[in-house]
Symmetry: C2
Subunit: 400 residues, 2 copies
DNA sequence: TGACATTAGTTCGAGACTCATACTTAATAG
DNA sequence: CTATTAAGTATGAGTCTCGAACTAATGTCA
C-alpha cells in the first residue's frame, strides 16, 4: 500500500568519501564551482581571492575542470595595469540536470545547465506517468546532445515525500500507479537514481536560487492553488523535518475563521485563503486553472470595488498566516506563488499591513513579501537545481 | 541605544581554514570525537569502523588526542578471541566549556566537560552582571583546575540575539547595562570571545544532546513561564532564522482566544497558555517562581476537579499551538519546559488529544510530547554544549 | 622607445595527510 | 604448545595544498 518509487538500477557508483585527500579536492572544486556561479566568469586570481585557496590550487582545479570541459576560457579583459587575467566561465553545454514535476493536471520538465542557465522549460496538461515520460523524453532528446552528460534527475510531486528522497508517503491528489511511474522513469534514465521531492520545497529552492529570493539565505515560499503549501529555506538549505514533511502549512490553524475545510476540520489556513475561499470572497467562478482564474479576478478587481474588498479580506488572512510563519522561522523574504502571483499587491498589500500589526517587536524587521516570477515551471526548476546541489556543495564529483 | 555585548580581546587566533590537509585532519578528528561521544569508550578498530576511516588514520588521530590529553586508554576488555582491543575514552578533566544564563531573576552556570559530563551546575537568584560574574567565577575556580582548559563560553539570554552570536537586539525583560556585562565577562575570561545565544535555543540544544530529545535529530523545545519561547533543532542544528530571531512563538496567533496579551494584541499564544493565563484558568495565585507555582498547581490538581478542568483548557490551547508548529516543522519530539514540566500529563494529555485531531494526514506521525527533565539549568547546559559544537563538528581545533 | 612596475598564472619542492598492505602483538581455542 | 583470530602499528605510495620563486603579459612613464 505504500507508494514506492525507485529507479531500477542502484548503481550508486559515486564515491562520497569525504575523509581522504580526494574528498578535499572535491570540496575545493565545489567551492570553485560555487564561486563561478556567484561571480560569473572570473580569473583564477579572483577565484583564489574569493575562495581563500592558494593560486596554485585554483590553477590545478581549473585545469581539471577545463579537461572535463565543465569550464572554458573566455577572452581576456584588458584595460588595467599588469598582466590581464584570463577569465574562465562555466560551460552550459556539458553538464545538465533534469527537473520534473508531476502534478494533478499538468506535467513540467526543466533542463538546467551547470552554469545555472535554463536550457529548456516546458509544461503540458495531463497527469499520467506517460505524459511525464513523453515530456521528459522530448526535453532530453532535444536539448541533451551526445557530448552532454545528465548529472541527475529530480521529480517534484504534490505530496509528502519521505526523508529518503526516494519514496512518497502521501499524495492524495495524485492518481498515479507508482510502479508504472518508476518504470517510466527507469526507462527514461537507466543507470540513474531519480530523486523525489515535495513540489513546494522544490519551488522554494528555485526561488532562492533563481527567483524572487535570490541572494538571500533564509526564505519562505508559499504557494496557493486549491491547497496551500510552503517550502522553507534556512541558510540556503531546505528544511525537511524529521520525516520529510515540514512545510505542510495548509492545515495549520490560523485566525478566527471557522470556515469548514476540505479536510473536515475548521480553521485551516487553506479554508481561509485557498483558491475556493478566495473565489467565494470575490464571488467569482473557477476557470480552467488556478492561474487563469486568478488573472480574471485581477482583471475584474480593476473595476469592481467588491472584488477588491474580497481580496482585501483574503489578504488579511494571508498576512495572519505569514505572521505566524515569520514569527517561527524569521525569513528574510517571503515569496508568494501559485494564484497569488497574478493578484500581486491586491492581496499582498493588506497582507503587509496585517503583518506589520502582528510582528513581535520593534527589533524584528518585517520580511519582504514578493510575488513569484518563475511561473508554472518553478517546481521543476527547483528540482533540477537540487540535482546540482551535491556537486556544488562538493559532496560528489561531476560524472566522468 | 543598541545593546552591544562583546568580550574585550578579539584574538580569534583559531585557524578555521578548511581547505588544506590540516583542515582535513581537523574534520576527521571531529568525527572521532563525535564517535567517542556517541559510542562511549571504544577501541581504535571500533572507531575506524564507525567513522569509515582507515585503522592507521584513527591510530594517528587517537595518538594526537592522547598527547593533548583529550582521551585516555582504559583497561582492556578481554573475553573474545583474538588480541583484545584497548578502549580509549574521552577525558573529563582536560577540556571544559562554560555555559551561562542571565535571566530576569536568576543566573545559572554550567561547566561541561568534553565527554559531555556535567562537572558543575549551579543557579542562584538575582539578575545583575555582578551576580552572573560571581557565580561564573566560583564555578570556574572550583571546577576548572590548572591543567584544565576552557574551550569556550556561551551566554544564554531571554531576548533576540543577532545572527552574529555576539549582540543582543531586544531583551525587554532584562534590565542590564550591557557595557557592564561585557566588562564583567571580559574580566572573567580574558582573551576569549563570549558567544551569546537565545535562552530557548540553548535549552533546545541541551534537550537534543542531553535531555528528553536525545538521540533525535529534529526536535522542538517549548518553554513556558510568563512568556512562551521555542527553540528549533533541525538535523541536529539550531534553526536561527535570517536575523537570528526564529522561534519567537509567544506572539503567534493561535486559536480563537481573544484574550488580551501583554503586548497589546489579541490572540497571542502566550495570552492563552502563558503562566498568567494558566493561573487564571485554574484560579490560583502566582508564587515566587514559575516552577514553584506550577508545582503547587499540580499538587492542588490531585484533589480539585476545577483545577484539572482549567489545565485541560490550557492543554488544548497548548496542543493547538504545537499542532501549528508541528505542521510547519515536523519535529520528531517536542519537549516542554518551564512551568509545563511540573504539570506534565495534566497539560500534555489534552494537548496530545488536540494534536491528534489537528494533524494533517494519516501519513504524518504525531510527534512525541515529553516534559523536560533538565531543570532550570537547561539553557546554561545548552550554552555550554554550543561552545563544544565547532570542535565536535571538526571546524576548529582543541586549544593547545 | 625602452626600462620598470604591476598583476596573472605556472612550476616546483616541502609538508601534511590518508590509505592499503604487510607486519607485530596479544589474546583464546583446542 | 600450536593454530587461530583480531587489534594495532610501521611503511611506502599517492594525493593534495601551499608558499616562494619564476615566467608572462600588459600599462606607465621617463
Amino acid at each position: 500500500m505504500r507508494p514506492h518509487l525507485r529507479a531500477v538500477t542502484d548503481a550508486e557508483g559515486l564515491r562520497r568519501s569525504t575523509s581522504g585527500t580526494e574528498g578535499l579536492r572535491r570540496a575545493n572544486t565545489g567551492a570553485v564551482l560555487r564561486a563561478l556561479r556567484e561571480l560569473g566568469p572570473s580569473t583564477r586570481s579572483e577565484l583564489a581571492a574569493h575562495t581563500g585557496l592558494a593560486k596554485a590550487t585554483v590553477g590545478a582545479i581549473v585545469a581539471d575542470l577545463e579537461a572535463a570541459r565543465a569550464v572554458a576560457e573566455e577572452g581576456s579583459r584588458p584595460g588595467v595595469r599588469g598582466r590581464p587575467g584570463r577569465p574562465v566561465a562555466l560551460r552550459g553545454d556539458r553538464f545538465v540536470s533534469l527537473g520534473l514535476e508531476l502534478n494533478v493536471d499538468y506535467v513540467s520538465a526543466v533542463v538546467l545547465d551547470l552554469a545555472g542557465g535554463v536550457v529548456s522549460s516546458t509544461s503540458r496538461s495531463g497527469g499520467t506517468s506517460d505524459d511525464l515520460r513523453d515530456l521528459a523524453r522530448s526535453a532530453l532528446d532535444e536539448h541533451v546532445g551526445p557530448d552532454c552528460t545528465l548529472v541527475g534527475t529530480t521529480l517534484a510531486v504534490p505530496g509528502l515525500v519521505r526523508g529518503d528522497n526516494r519514496t512518497v508517503a502521501w499524495a492524495p491528489n495524485l492518481r498515479v500507479e507508482w510502479g508504472e511511474l518508476a518504470d517510466a522513469l527507469g526507462s527514461l534514465v537507466p543507470d540513474q537514481q531519480v530523486e523525489v521531492s515535495n513540489d513546494a520545497n522544490c519551488a522554494a529552492y528555485a526561488e532562492s536560487h533563481h527567483g524572487a529570493a535570490r541572494g538571500t539565505s533564509h526564505a519562505l515560499y508559499v504557494t496557493g492553488t486549491v491547497g496551500i503549501g510552503a517550502g522553507i529555506v534556512q541558510d540556503g538549505e531546505l528544511v525537511r523535518g524529521g520525516a520529510g514533511f515540514a512545510g505542510e502549512v495548509g492545515h495549520m490553524t490560523v485566525g478566527d475563521s471557522s470556515a469548514l475545510c476540505g479536510c473536515g476540520r475548521r480553521g485551516c489556513w487553506e479554508a481561509a485563503i485557498g483558491l475556493h475561499a478566495m473565489l467565494a470572497a470575490v464571488g467569482m467562478p473557477e476557470l480552467d486553472t488556478p492561474l487563469l482564474t486568478a488573472e480574471s479576478v485581477a482583471e475584474r478587481a480593476r473595476t469592481d470595488a467588491d472584488v477588491r474588498a474580497g481580496l482585501e479580506r483574503v489578504g488579511r488572512d494571508v498576512g495572519l498566516g505569514i505572521a505566524v510563519l515569520s514569527t517561527v522561522l524569521d525569513p528574510q523574504v517571503v515569496v508568494m506563488g501559485g494564484y497569488f502571483a497574478p493578484l500581486g499587491d491586491l492581496v499582498l498589500d493588506p497582507a503587509r499591513r496585517t503583518l506589520d500589526e502582528r510582528l513581535v517587536s520593534t527589533a524584528q524587521v518585517r520580511p519582504e513579501l514578493r510575488t513569484s516570477t518563475l511561473g508554472i515551471e518553478a517546481a521543476a526548476l527547483g528540482a533540477a537545481e537540487q540535482s546540482f546541489g551535491p556537486v556544488l556543495a562538493g559532496e560528489i564529483d561531476l560524472p566522468a
